[in-house]
């Protein structure tokens, strides 16, 4: 017993002592703060490290929203040198709080659109919906699943879409119709797409899902065709940005990293790694993308101040859905 407690006391004291000495920052490393969906291949990491001479360390700080919030709360003592993944809905908030040193650079974008299951509609001999307005029609009753605007960024993007399309006084009316038409709301995009949607691996019950214009490229079957397609009108474009954090311990390396995100090799790998389109339009897209997953035809809602209004929108929306 006595020995156990002595050992315990030593453990506590040594661990507190360990915590007391400040960790030394190596000028040769660069710490990138990013969201949980960030994917980078080992080849790309190696390319960055050999060309720049800096070692890359990743800090994945939750989803885009909580990552941005952490950066705002800790801006006096940032948790890294550079940030990747602040999107246009949070850009205003990031700028307002001056969390970056200088401007944020756009790196990639994705278009939030509805996807439908081609095979399902063919089997039922039902015409596919042509735009989001048609989703309230009775022939599409109980067919649509979306993700919750409070807990998913695609859900928030669609809420913004409806505000852009129907105005501040009309959007709740549209949502009420959707609700009466058997709309299913789930927590996250993954639940909606992989569990509830009939056209993906989960083989769920809903043939229409809120997803991205790029998603059909992942549903190419043995016959060389995609089982799904997107409704490419009235989509919401999410653009992701990267920048140097203010107060970064290694701003020079952070700047080199942001430049690397704009480089040909990083841009070309974006579709395969993160299912987003490279911001550099000269970058060649994979074949499955040009065939089945082109970007949206028309966009809406880009002028909306999402960060500034989301609290009020969510409150009104929640009142309808509870």
């Amino acid at each position: 017993m006595q020995k156990l407690f002595k050992a315990a006391a030593v453990a506590v004291i040594s661990s507190l002592a360990l915590a007391g000495c400040a960790p030394t920052t190596d000028p040769k490393t660069v710490v990138l703060v990013t969201h949980d969906s960030f994917v980078i291949s080992d080849e790309l990491i190696q390319e960055f490290e050999t060309t720049s001479g800096y070692e890359l360390k990743l800090v994945k700080a939750g989803d885009t929203g909580s990552m941005t919030n952490k950066l705002i709360l800790t801006k006096d003592q940032p948790i890294g040198d550079a940030v990747f993944g602040i999107d246009n809905t949070l850009l205003g908030l990031a700028e307002e709080n001056a969390i970056t040193d200088g401007e944020l650079s756009p790196i990639d974008f994705g278009d939030v659109c509805f996807n439908y299951d081609i095979d399902w509609f063919a089997a039922k001999k039902l015409p596919v919906p042509k735009n989001v307005r048609e989703l309230t029609e009775s022939k599409y009753r109980g067919l649509t699943v979306v993700s919750h605007p409070a807990t998913s960024s695609s859900g928030m993007a669609f809420l913004a879409t409806t505000i852009a399309l129907f105005g501040e006084d009309g959007y709740l009316n549209y949502w009420a119709k959707l609700k009466n038409n058997g709309l299913k709301v789930v927590a996250g995009w993954e639940d909606a797409y992989f569990t509830e949607f009939s056209g993906s691996s989960g083989k769920g019950k809903y043939p229409i899902v809120l997803s991205y214009s790029s998603s059909p490229s992942a549903e190419v079957r043995d016959n060389g065709k995609s089982q799904t397609a997107s409704i490419r009108t009235d989509c919401y474009r999410q653009t992701e940005f990267a920048g140097v954090l203010s107060g970064a311990k290694n701003p020079v390396a952070a700047r080199a990293l942001v430049e690397f995100f704009k480089s040909q090799s990083f841009q070309a790998a974006l579709p395969a790694n993160m299912y987003v389109y490279p911001i550099d339009s000269s970058t060649a897209l994979p074949e499955a993308w040009t065939k089945f997953a082109p970007a949206a035809l028309t966009l809406v809602g880009e002028e909306l101040d999402v960060a500034g209004n989301r609290k009020d929108w969510l409150k009104a929306w929640s009142a309808l859905f509870e």
């Binding site: 006595q2 506590v12 661990s15 915590a19 807990t151 993954e190 639940d191 609290k311």
Partner: protein
């Protein structure tokens, strides 16, 4: 007096630096804004009301089920009783994320009630049933049974005996069980998050949403204030109505009790139904899913070394498990050292009135971390420990430290009553024999409360293992813990992720069962010498 003061300095510095300082820091930011507006916001009160009523309903059902079970499992005996006692204890010790997972399977398979609240209440009952059974049962066992027996002899039915004789006697234990169950149900976070699919708002999930998604610190602070008041009320009830020395014993002291007989069938049936349908079924569902989901048993377990489909994890489940084990060891050690010191100091005999009052205040102070939103405290850590003078955020120690703060109240609750109940004669005898204060504490008092010590160690370890709210904020990147990777896997299904989550849950359940079983074995008291030495 000054010696006592010196003894208090370490625990007080611990609590001040790791609890009050970050808490003050974050609340300060919140209360700088328009927090008061949230106290008059109807929606915030609707959320508060929801939190209270779901906790009340959960608590009521838990108690109604726990009384007959306490009777069967502690007042009577039957073969296999110890195993059942261990079995029902697992849910209370499991990470809430695992519990929630078990009930989501139930919900999806049964397709009975789509209403999330039914499942949230069921899961709360599942979690707290053991806590209530053990609290009531161990107290019941310590009661003098003569009145009950006399009533039975004079012809009163068993139900009537329990209703009019036993329940009034059990009042302190009933109040204590009610207060702690209520407390756990109001502070529930991960469970409501998963079972509610992010669409059911309780105080704790709304605090997390306000702080995490909306960066609305005034709102988070206002709600945290309401939640703390609720906790204080629950504490107050348990302190005045209950008796503070009612412990949650993990050990099984088998008193002299009678075998289950035919007249016990209602209580026996209720207990059997609860054990089979509420306790065992969700866990069996998880085992079943781990074996059949996706790629099958072997592959699901093999996947635990991977990052999941679409690399949804930052580190593999195995690596997260290693982080959790490391955190568990460090945090339980710290919590034990601090908790035992506090208990020792509180248990010192005192005569002066002012000292009694001071002790009372200190007691409540060390209980406070139980009643504070873990999410709020997590944010406090985030803003407080970024750099000078304590750059804890840069080290992995931040997670075990915050978890140790949460475990200290439990350790104190277990050790302090045990120390206070010790026979002072032994200790004074040691003092007369020349032992100094520390010698007598180390060599006499601590060994005498070793069962409580084992229990406290297990509780502290499992608090750290299951803790989700603070870890989800602070343990990002390569510091992820078992509950946080489990949440990622459950909330991001598709591909192999779901099967992986089931395999990981299976592993945690087996591990927890092992801990509970070993502890309750260790705690079996020495067999009493038979009256006839030869027999």
């Amino acid at each position: 007096m000054s010696k006592r003061l010196a003894g208090w300095s370490i625990p007080l510095i611990f609590l001040g630096v790791l609890f009050f300082w970050p808490l003050a820091n974050i609340l300060n930011r919140g209360f700088a804004g328009d927090w008061a507006l949230h106290l008059v916001d109807l929606r915030d009160w609707q959320i508060t009301w929801f939190t209270v009523w779901q906790a009340l309903v959960s608590t009521a059902i838990t108690l109604v089920l726990a009384v007959p079970s306490a009777y069967i499992l502690y007042r009577k005996s039957f073969p296999g009783q110890r195993l059942v006692r261990s079995l029902i204890t697992i849910p209370f010790m499991l990470p809430t994320i695992v519990v929630a997972t078990g009930f989501t399977i139930f919900r999806d398979a049964a397709n009975l009630w789509s209403d999330a609240i039914v499942w949230i209440i069921a899961a709360h009952v599942f979690l707290n049933y053991a806590l209530a059974v053990r609290t009531i049962g161990s107290y019941w066992m310590s009661l003098d049974l003569q009145t009950e027996e006399a009533a039975a002899l004079s012809g009163a039915g068993r139900l009537r005996t329990v209703w009019s004789i036993s329940l009034p006697q059990l009042q302190p234990a009933l109040i204590s069980a009610t207060a702690s169950t209520f407390l756990y149900c109001t502070a529930s976070y991960g469970l409501i998050l998963v079972l509610g699919g992010g669409q059911v708002d309780s105080l704790e999930t709304e605090i997390a949403a306000a702080a995490n998604t909306l960066l609305d610190l005034p709102k988070a602070s206002a709600l945290a204030l309401i939640q703390t008041m609720l906790s204080v009320v629950a504490f107050g009830v348990s302190q005045t109505g209950g008796r503070s020395n009612i412990g949650i014993e993990l050990g099984d002291h088998d008193g002299e009790v009678k075998r289950v007989d035919r007249k016990d069938w209602p209580a026996f049936l209720i207990t059997a139904a609860v054990v089979v349908f509420l306790v065992a079924a969700p866990m069996i569902q998880i085992f079943w899913k781990a074996a059949t989901e996706g790629a099958g048993l072997v592959q699901n377990f093999a996947n635990l070394t991977s990052l999941g489909t679409r690399n949804v994890l930052n580190i593999s489940v195995v690596d997260a498990g290693l982080n959790s084990l490391r955190n568990m060891f460090i945090s339980a050690t710290i919590a034990l050292v601090i908790g035992v010191t506090v208990s020792y100091l509180l248990a010192q005999p005192t005569k002066s009135r002012s000292q009694v009052l001071v002790n009372r205040v200190l007691d409540v102070m060390f209980l406070l971390p139980l009643g504070i939103s873990t999410v709020v405290l997590g944010f406090g850590y985030l803003v407080t420990f970024g750099g000078y003078p304590l750059p804890l955020r840069e080290t992995w120690l931040i997670v075990p430290l915050i978890q140790s703060v949460m475990a200290v109240p439990l350790v104190v609750r277990l050790i302090y009553p045990a120390l206070a109940a010790l026979d002072r004669n032994h200790i004074e005898a040691a003092a007369t024999a020349g032992a100094n204060r520390w010698q007598s504490f180390w060599l006499i008092e601590l060994p005498m409360v070793r069962f409580s010590l084992y229990t406290a160690a297990a509780f502290a370890a499992l608090v750290s293992l299951g803790e989700f709210g603070a870890a989800s904020l602070l343990a990002y990147g390569d510091q992820a813990t078992l509950p946080t990777v489990l949440y990622s896997l459950i909330s991001k299904p598709g591909g192999d992720n779901y099967g992986m989550a089931m395999a990981a849950s299976t592993f945690i359940i087996v591990l927890t069962f092992a801990v509970v079983f070993v502890i309750s074995r260790e705690n079996r008291p020495e067999p009493k010498p038979k009256r006839n030495g030869l027999a």
